[in-house]
């Protein structure tokens, strides 16, 4: 071989290290470190020589090595359900912005609603020694995170509470939001209202159902069990459930949709019906106001969920020995037309 490669050329491509810079500038390693990190105690002349060597070599500090020595990685991990779900976009961005304000980067990934994948991902992030973890739970048993939390990984759950461990959680007021949305329909004159929600093992689904039942009870209205349907949010199931509630001798005159996916399918079903049916959906979505009628929704503030959770995470990291808390964010009813359709007789 005509050219022998220096050992360092086999690693990270062939990046120069502080050692290389030190050799070229004719100074000690520590002096390079001082210049790179802007520490005081270097004469202008020395600094200039080091800076020239840095530029000539194209040196960039290896933060990965730095992190090992410093103990903190300046990295936040985020486990969410699906990176491509628009609902989580603002949450994702909010986590990024708070992390950025603290000089931290964001590693994120999708659980795909699979508890095993959630666990695998969360633990991979712990192995990378993220300083903190924001988790939107897919599973309902998070005891696997207990050793990590004990070891100092600041962990905050969002959107749904952690399962079988005591930890911070930030969520929207699903119960109150659903109760208010259903009360709005009742105030509009509806007495037979259907509820279509997500799987019953999902915390938000049962909370919203509870809100629906509370609103009905508040108004002294009975709930026929055929008006309630929990399960997959796949379009086929949701439209079947909707059609079933809307047919028969005593059809519902209004629907409450338990989340954004259900709402969208409900809109499609209702658009194909001859008579108008009222609809209120949990979760706002883009263009809800452009539809005819506009869709009345119980909106949660996804960005606030992410912001509050990540703020909490950094508070923990700051060492204030906080006990685990449950932080609930209010929802907001946005009336746009679909929820104000009167009952058809």
């Amino acid at each position: 071989m005509p050219h022998s490669r220096r050992p360092s050329e086999t690693r990270y491509g062939n990046r120069p290290t502080m050692k290389d810079v030190a050799a070229r500038a004719g100074v000690g390693l520590k002096t390079v470190s001082r210049v790179v990190n802007g520490e005081p105690g270097v004469t202008p002349d020395t600094e200039k020589r080091v800076q020239e060597a840095i530029d000539a070599l194209g040196f960039r500090r290896n933060d990965s090595a730095r992190v090992l020595r410093k103990g903190r990685t300046a990295t936040v991990g985020l486990v969410l359900e699906d990176l491509s779900d628009p609902f989580y976009g603002p949450l994702n961005r909010a986590v990024e912005e708070v992390a950025r304000a603290h000089g931290a980067l964001l590693i994120n990934g999708s659980s795909a609603e699979d508890p095993d994948r959630e666990r695998e991902l969360a633990l991979a992030l712990c192995a990378r020694r993220v300083d903190g973890l924001v988790v939107i739970p897919a599973g309902d048993d998070h005891r696997y995170l207990e050793p990590e939390i004990r070891a100092g990984v600041a962990t905050v759950f969002v959107d749904r509470p952690a399962g079988r461990i005591d930890a911070d959680v930030v969520l929207s007021d699903s119960f109150g939001g659903a109760r208010g949305g259903v009360a709005h329909l009742i105030a509009g004159g509806h007495r037979r209202i259907g509820f279509i929600g997500d799987h019953p093992h999902i915390h938000t689904a049962t909370e919203r159902l509870r809100g629906y039942r509370a609103a009905m009870a508040d108004a002294g209205l009975p709930v026929a069990e055929s008006w309630v349907s929990l399960g997959a949010t796949a379009p086929e199931r949701v439209s079947a459930a909707a059609r079933s509630m809307l047919s028969g001798p005593e059809p519902v005159t209004a629907l409450f949709a338990g989340n954004n996916r259900v709402t969208v399918t409900a809109v499609r079903v209702l658009a194909s019906l001859p008579r108008p049916v009222a609809l209120v959906g949990f979760d706002d979505f883009e263009l809800a106001d452009l539809l005819r009628p506009g869709i009345t929704v119980v909106a949660q503030d996804a960005a606030a969920l992410g912001r509050v959770a990540t703020d909490r995470l950094f508070q923990r990291l700051a060492g204030t020995g906080l006990p685990p808390a449950r932080i609930e964010l209010p929802t907001r009813l946005i009336t746009r037309g679909s929820g104000e359709i009167p009952p058809s007789s």
Copy 2:
């Protein structure tokens, strides 16, 4: 102080290391490493002792340290415009899935369309020594990445080409897509068609405008400069541009919207008009089919952009000395009604 803390307790919380495991199991460090990594050459009995120590101590390998020694971080960086933009959701997820298939994690962040922030973020990722970088450019000068690419960071640009450097780029056929969309309007009888697009310094904006002009030229139609408007995609500007084109003695009878944000604003403007105006938009969006009329769009496959780009990245990492390539993905015209409205006379 009643309790003195071991040095290791001050770092990463108080995590046990391989050294701690080795001490507890009464074996050498290397033996622990073998067990943790499933390497052969350990007797079942030794392995059992080590495993017990691991479990008792709650040991989890520090991948951050491992990475330093191994030279590759098994991490991909993604710089996009906005983590909360629904258009990038599927792209983000696709990058994650390909990375995951290669055992890599994903660090991502938003440039917020700010070239300085793009640079800062991309270089921070390089400092963490990501193995590869997927960049959706905000700026138009990427020479700052040249040393990194030379040093071995596999870099692929997506959606827009890199500026002033020669690098891989994966993009949609903006020119062809726009040309086809405008040709569709012309085939429907339109002769006066407006084009509203993004800032002229954005590559896709000028490509789409070029497609518009080509389609008009193909049909022998003149283009009045008042029919063309490039600039911010803020609703105020877009609606002003649309209203201007739609008024006067010779108003346009159809609009071509250069991207999803423009399309949405155009829909709002058109909904407020007395007469129907045809609309074709570049980029598909959720619920486009639920609007009345449904919105005809030139759709690009955002997930495919991410997938192809990340595949390319790992091909590079595999060491096949590929020359930089430009990979163009086809678009698809989806007719839903708004683009099939005939010209009003």
